[in-house]
Symmetry: C2
Subunit: 233 residues, 2 copies
């Protein structure tokens, strides 16, 4: 029951097509020559941590594929609160739009968490490539469908779950997505504030709830890190 359904690895493309060993469902069903054409058209761009790759509302002037690193997609409320949508991990594509004359506005903001390597296609070449390779358009379409499903799940979670439930859910999903399995459980590098933002909960509610779970022995806390003993909720 993952909240985040990213566009990675449903059917693996041929392995090691890139020097990076990058796999992505964006390449599903494409011939190696076609993939090479894609890669040739892409610019590789390196982003430092906490850098905005695309900003909600601005024209979608490019399409992206995360090669290495990590990023997060979120929306901003008029009051400036961030509404977490999903993590973006290597292999995930974003910024693809329906074919139009003009770039439509971005739906969400995407920001790196750590140093990341991103393949970038500008608007024109993205348009050209997706019209040249119908399979690619289909794959981009599938990525959009996944985003739609993902946002829908976030919506339902926000509408029907309590603060405690949303926190629990975010913990489990973050463990799946960005957790490192250690000797005593799953370690997640997140501050209380990160977790609170993602779950849509105040910093204090998050702190109180996490403390309660720690008292019950479900997890242990270090500064800026959470150690989840098991994934039961």
């Amino acid at each position: 029951m993952a909240l985040v359904m990213n566009a990675n690895l449903t059917r693996p493309a041929s392995p090691n097509l890139l020097p990076l060993g990058l796999r992505s469902s964006l390449f599903d069903g494409l011939a190696p020559s076609e993939i090479n054409a894609l890669l040739a058209a892409a610019r590789k761009r390196r982003f430092p941590p906490h850098e905005v790759i695309q900003r909600e509302g601005e024209p979608a002037t490019g399409s992206f594929l995360l090669a290495t690193g990590r990023a997060v997609a979120y929306k901003l409320t008029p009051e400036g609160e961030r509404v977490f949508l999903h993590w973006i991990v290597p292999g995930d594509a974003f910024g693809f739009t329906a074919p139009r004359r003009k770039p439509p506005p971005c739906v969400a903001t995407v920001q790196t968490l750590r140093e990341s390597l991103v393949l970038v296609w500008d608007w024109e070449s993205s348009l050209a490539l997706t019209s040249q390779f119908p399979q690619l358009r289909g794959n981009a379409c599938a990525a959009m469908a996944n985003h739609l499903a993902s946002v829908s799940r976030v919506l339902v979670a926000r509408c029907s779950q309590t603060a405690r439930q949303r926190l629990a859910r975010m913990l489990v999903e973050s463990a799946d997505q960005i957790g490192r399995t250690g000797s005593e459980g799953i370690e997640i590098d997140l501050t209380n504030e990160d977790l609170a933002d993602m779950a849509g909960v105040s910093l204090f509610t998050a702190s109180r709830q996490l403390s309660e779970w720690q008292r019950k022995g479900i997890l242990a806390k270090r500064r800026g890190r959470i150690l989840l003993h098991s994934r039961n909720v």
Copy 2:
């Protein structure tokens, strides 16, 4: 600032292509002969009021285009609460998915409000048509992008707005979408309960808030109907 951005009439197709005079952005950029091929492949189906056309979670075995009538798209929480997504008006397409081997599950439930005429393409012909006409795939993709933007707006509204604000917003949007302009303002055929469901607010909160607005002279209420004097909020 419409919450609902449906797939209608961005650039009009040639007029009166159908006996119904149906226009839809689904036909954008298609030649008349192509549109005829589309229509020939479609089955016309009439739904009585309050009939479910597609149900969330079930395989998306068809693609739809509403010709006449009205419908609503919503999601269900595990507790059975309905989360309103958007109205569906004539010209709106829904149920289109990314090209896949198997039909993916529907993202939302779509239900008629009144008797409606719907064009239906089954899974196979939908797949065949969208691969035959790249422009059609693009248009279906655009419809999906609109749904994504729409759900995102609902999400942000749910996360950042108070009950009062959400009610106001739903009133204005419903006025745009399904209101009839009368002599004294815009009439909307909605019960308190409908409005409360859509805004994600309890029946009582809706009643209290509407009464307050009525006292202030912003609107008048009849049983099962709301008369909005102006659209200011």
